[in-house]
Symmetry: C2
Subunit: 184 residues, 2 copies
Amino acid sequence: MDAADTTAPARRTAASNGHADLAPDLPSAPEAPLVRVPGLDYGVLDHLLGYALRRAQNALYLDFHRATAKAQVSPQRFAALVLVGRNPGMRQGVLAEAMGLHRSGALRLTDWLTDRGWVERRDDENDARRWGLHLTAQGRRMLTTLERQVQAHDQALIDALGDQAPALRQALERLAEVATRHCL
Amino acid sequence: MDAADTTAPARRTAASNGHADLAPDLPSAPEAPLVRVPGLDYGVLDHLLGYALRRAQNALYLDFHRATAKAQVSPQRFAALVLVGRNPGMRQGVLAEAMGLHRSGALRLTDWLTDRGWVERRDDENDARRWGLHLTAQGRRMLTTLERQVQAHDQALIDALGDQAPALRQALERLAEVATRHCL
DNA sequence: TATTGTTATACTCTATAACTATA
DNA sequence: TATAGTTATAGAGTATAACAATA
C-alpha cells in the first residue's frame, strides 16, 4: 500500500483523468467580436431583446478574457472556483446543478480545476459515494487574484453605464425569471 | 454535360458538403437551465453584471428553442436567415463578419441552410470567386413563420418587463459598445 | 432499486492551416 | 500577391449511456 493516502482514498479512482493528458485545453478560441457591419440590413434583429442580449454577452465574454488574460480562465471556470470557495465541501452534483451542466460536465470542470492544483476532492463524512470539493491554498490565492481582476472589470462597465447600471441588473434578473417561467 | 446548370455553375464545387451526410445536426442539446440552487452561496457572482447577463442569456436561449420548437432552429441560424433575407446576394464572408464567425464557420452555417433548401448560392456577377446568397421560396416562407414566432416570443418578454423594457434594450446596446471599446 | 461519480463515446461548434480558383 | 471560398483536421464543450460503488 501507499504510505500516505491523506485526502482522496483509493477505493475510488478519484477522477485520475484518463481522457486529457494533464494540460488539456486553454480556451484560446473565445469567438470573434460580433461587430455591426455598416451597410447591412439587420431587419427584425435590431428590434429583438434577445439579439441585443446576445450582442452584449458576446462583447462581455471577450472583455472578460482580456481582464483575466494572464490566467486563461473562462467565465465558467471562474464561477466554479467562486462556488467551491464559498461553499467548501460542495458535491460535484451540486456544482453541476448550479452551473446548468450534466454530471459528466461537472466532472470535467472539476478535473480541470484539480489539474491546476486549485481544487481538491476530499471524502464526504456521511456518504462514501460523494466527494467534497475544497479549494487548495493555491486555489484560494488564485481566486483572490481573479476576483480582484473580475470585479475591477465589472466596475469599469458599471461606471461607464452610470445611473443606468442598477436598472440594468434588475431588469436582467427579472428577464431571466420571466424567460425561465415561460420555459417551464 | 448536364442539361440545366441554372444557378450554381460547376466550375466550383459549390459546397457540395463532403463532411456531413445531408441531415447533419439538429441542436438537440441546448444546455440545461441555469437555475439558482437554494442553499448555495454565490459570493461575488451575485454582484457581477456579467453573471446576471449570463443568467438572462441562458434563460432566453432555452426559451427561444421553446418558441421555435417545430423548426429546430438555433438563434444563430435564425439570425443568418434574417440577414440573407434582408440582404439578397450577400457574400459568405460578410455573413461571417456579421455573425462573428470564421469563414469556415459561415460555410458550415450556409451549408446547413442550403441542405434545408432555405438558401441557395448563386453567382456573383462581378467576381467569379464570390457567391451571392439568396433565400429560396421555401426559405422565405420559413423565415416568415419563424419571424412571427420569434417576435411573439420577444414581445411576451417585453410585455412582462413592462416599462423596464426600453431602458433595458438601451442599456444592453450601451453595454455592448462599452465592452467592445474596452476590448480594442 | 436509487444515487454519486466515473468511463467511454459521439456530436456540435468553432478555429487553424493548406488548398483551389480567381482577381 | 491578395482574396473568396473550400477542405481537412483538431480542439473545446456538452451530452448520452453503460458502469461501479454505495446507500
